[in-house]
Symmetry: C2
Subunit: 174 residues, 2 copies
């Protein structure tokens, strides 16, 4: 068993001065770390019915694909506006300044399907909350959301009240 937290690299002043960025690429390039992360992200949801993995563009795609294969279920993407070619639904969410948007194909989720939402990072929770709303708009059931990293100095959990959230590690400071 690897210490996954030790595989994360802190990069100072990215994307801007004063921000410490938690870089997961150093974990992803470690063969054991990659497999173990996928296994542990799934751990609390094991034994439950999960019909699909829905992952958030773009770092969420890496672990999302692996987890879908591991479970033997299909993979569906949440994407930024204009990237998905067929009929979509859309949810806005608030950023520090202004708003952003997430889209999902209308046929990505069928009513009653149980969906596990995957992303790399739980920060303010806005993106994950929008992702959950998209699943529910299509009649799906959100089993929970699973992340590699949770930034506990940001109010991510408050943005996702009543959701089952799982993260492999926490960072409590920028």
């Amino acid at each position: 068993m690897k210490d996954l937290k030790a595989l994360i690299r802190g990069v100072p002043d990215f994307p801007k001065k004063g921000i410490l960025f938690y870089d997961i690429t150093t974990l992803l390039k470690d063969p054991e770390g990659l497999k173990q992360a996928a296994r542990e992200m799934l751990e609390p949801f094991k034994g439950e019915r999960i019909d699909k993995i829905a992952a958030i563009e773009s770092r969420g795609f890496i672990l999302g694909g692996i987890i879908a294969c591991e479970l033997g279920v299909g993979f569906v993407p949440f994407r930024k506006p204009g990237k998905l070619p067929a009929q979509t639904i859309r949810e806005e969410y608030t950023l520090e300044y202004g708003t952003d948007c997430l889209e999902m194909h209308r046929d990505a989720v069928s009513p009653g399907e149980r969906i596990l939402v995957v992303d790399d990072l739980l920060a303010t929770g806005g993106t994950a909350a929008a992702a959950c709303r998209l699943v529910e708009k299509l009649g799906g059931v959100v089993v929970g959301c699973t992340f590699i990293v949770e930034l506990t100095f940001l109010p991510g959990r408050q943005a996702l009240p009543g959701r089952r959230l799982h993260a492999l590690m926490e960072f409590d400071h920028e």
Copy 2:
């Protein structure tokens, strides 16, 4: 065994009028299709030494992660400019109008490492060619490039002379 080509959806007039877009999301959401695609993308490179999977943002990440886990190797991303937090190298490539850019972390590949490049689509080949150059700039060896879809009405193979290229299916018209 699934007919993977039958799982691809043609979406007319996306991203613009007159273009038929080959949508892989209908393959990704099929549990067997997803697994089989990963297996078949790796097929011609089996039995060779591959040290890492390098996948192109963002649809390449989905199969890239799965193939890395399947092989038991690490995963490294190629990303659009400004997304990777640590020290990067960069390669430009030509688009229909203007140029675009791909980046890779300097520590993503070590000299002598053998890299399989993964993306969803071989179209003009510009992005994949830039990806190969990035690997070689860092002293890596490109084992080959593997794709889900090849658009044979575009000159993708000409952009990648001498490279080992593999695609699961071809489409010969827009």
